[in-house]
Symmetry: C4
Subunit: 220 residues, 4 copies
């Protein structure tokens, strides 16, 4: 199978994680993957139900968001994904959701401070807030890139909007989206009845370092 | 297949979206569709479990709610659906639920102000409150029509009751019901820990305009 | 099939509604049915997983809770079910759960006031609080019967414990358990951000009367 | 089947309870079992999806956490599980999760006081808080053992981290993890709108004693 055929399959299949973890309603979230070594990306078609996604109806675009393969229009968030791939060469996957708890933090424009080991592991500290930006041009993409450049977190909470996550590949970006909602929910609930206890910065650093370098299976 | 046979199938199947998104408990929500070009509608039978719905047991009524085809009684909300079809010729589908978060706003008689891009997209601003009205006559239908006429929102929160949504067809009304609960939940959670940040009216207008005219696949 | 064989099947199957609506965790809820015209009831075995329930392992007890058919011990709540059947001849089904939101009201000893049409329909007003009572004798049964006798509500919130519901048959009691949690959840959320609007007693009465006498399919 | 083969199957299968009750996100929880009569344990591999778990990819370690059988790395929490087995010979199963509500209590460092009969049954009183501890050495294990030794509760809320539970076997530890989240959720909700009513210590004691000695099927 060609690299693009493989990525079509992977990107279609990864959307099932968005529904499994209830990060999306109707057609409100999307996954993309960079095609390594080519100026191309694979992304969800716009307004198509998750049940109907398949390798065949994924869209291949160039990194300006122009469709190269596919009969349908690409996700209305294509410009944002494309901007990220152009600006951040180390990024191989991008995910966008309006997952409930994370978006509630985004609606208040409030970053999620780090009070959980799981957040330290995956995000290395706070999950930051990005600017308010309108869809349709480069503003969302710019907001994502400016917020995440030089930041440990692979997730940004775009103000009054929702979540964008990045990763070395699409699977890593999906994982970040799942963990972002999980952490946002726990942090919300902790705050409802009081204040979470602080974690020392050295402990956050140590957890982040270990998780990025030791966790999981070597070579995966 | 005749138009009515097709709509029986569509309406029966769309109830699966109400259960998938947990908008209903037991038999507490219903979907209907107008039969285009005829003074008829297709609607759920009353008090029948979602698992038991099929094209065959959907009820066909005229727009006064009188049964034309079907062995069972139609939904107890038939009068409200029928009133909407009589008063709003552009409406092709109606949905009713008591979805949890939206109904909590309805219990307080509190409209959901627009602080989310997803709400601007689908609802074009706030989701309004309709009056308290008793079931069994035209009062609920009147309350829906008076609230939604001239309003961008396809959803109304009926006081102390629940949600009614409208759409160009049944699928669009179901989508509005799904998005109404999604937005109601996020708005609730945002408010629990503070105040969501305001969105400029021009931004809300711009998002609404784009979503209604650009999003999804052309001709769908 | 004999009446008892039929009820074994029905009672086993109805437990799937408890899991579907997430009213139970592990083995923490149970359904029973009176055998009409006999001094017998059919009930869940104690500590058996919902996945493993089948007509064959349901327990038949007399109305003192003594096992008549079945190799396993009956539910540890058998004494409470039996007491209800002895004291309330019109009751044909009993359900017990620790469903989350309803139990949270029970933990505070706070009745759920009626601010929703769905609550007026099914419960005819508030859902009352029953006393704290220890398991193992007649105290729980007495508390249920004393609270629900002469009350419209088929559900009682036993203090610091959970929910018991009654119905003309097991299916009706399961429905009451599902609707009790649904109403408890919506009422909780409504209260978190303010006060639900009052409903006039005459409206509550009217809704209750209509729902008990008109809703659903005649003869069902 | 050998004891180890049997335990590989059991431990793999029990992870399905963690996903069924939504106690875990992505790969964030794990189950282990002691191999009776041998200085060995069976545990989940690190960073492997729950869908991909099978008897064949479970890891067998000695009680210092050194892999004895298996091609993958064991769970990154292996050291904590191993410490518990070394220090508490009566423990046959250990479970770790970051289940949402329990972890919210852990983030505040707040023990869950006992206001529910279900909590008295399973936990015999409050669910305690353990210390903050970094992963990678014996600190988490020590914190678990010091908190649970001489305590009735089979669950400990590790500060800013999550839940560890113990049991006579892996199934019992999984049950404790399920009930811990259930109780944590109900207790959270009860507190959101006020204060749960106190339970007398004698009642808590009586419920705990009965549940440990009478509930379920004899010999199970």
């Amino acid at each position: 199978m060609s690299v693009i055929a493989e990525l079509r399959k992977t990107v279609a299949a990864l959307h099932a994680e968005l529904t499994r973890y209830q990060l999306v309603a109707w057609t409100s979230g999307n996954v993309s993957a960079r095609v390594p070594g080519q100026e191309l990306m694979v992304i969800k078609p716009s307004g198509v139900s998750y049940d109907d996604l398949a390798a065949e109806n994924m869209i291949v675009c160039d990194l300006d968001g122009v469709v190269v393969e596919g009969d349908l229009s690409p996700s209305s968030d294509t410009a944002a994904h494309a901007y990220v791939y152009r600006a951040m060469p180390e990024v191989g996957g991008v995910v966008h959701t309006h997952s409930t708890y994370a978006t509630a933090w985004a609606a208040r424009g409030e970053a999620i401070a780090c009070h959980l080991t799981a957040q330290a592991d995956e995000f290395g500290g706070e999950i930051p807030i990005g600017p308010f930006a309108l869809i349709g041009g480069d503003d969302i993409g710019k907001g994502i890139v400016e917020t995440l450049t030089g930041h440990r977190s692979p997730a940004v909470l775009m103000r009054n909007h929702g979540v964008f996550t990045i990763g070395k590949d699409a699977r890593a970006a999906v994982k970040a989206a799942v963990m972002c909602e999980d952490v946002a929910r726990t942090a919300h609930l902790a705050r409802v009845l009081g204040q979470p206890l602080p974690m020392a910065q050295a402990d956050v650093d140590s957890l982040y370092d270990r998780y990025q370098n030791v966790y999981g299976q070597a070579g995966r």
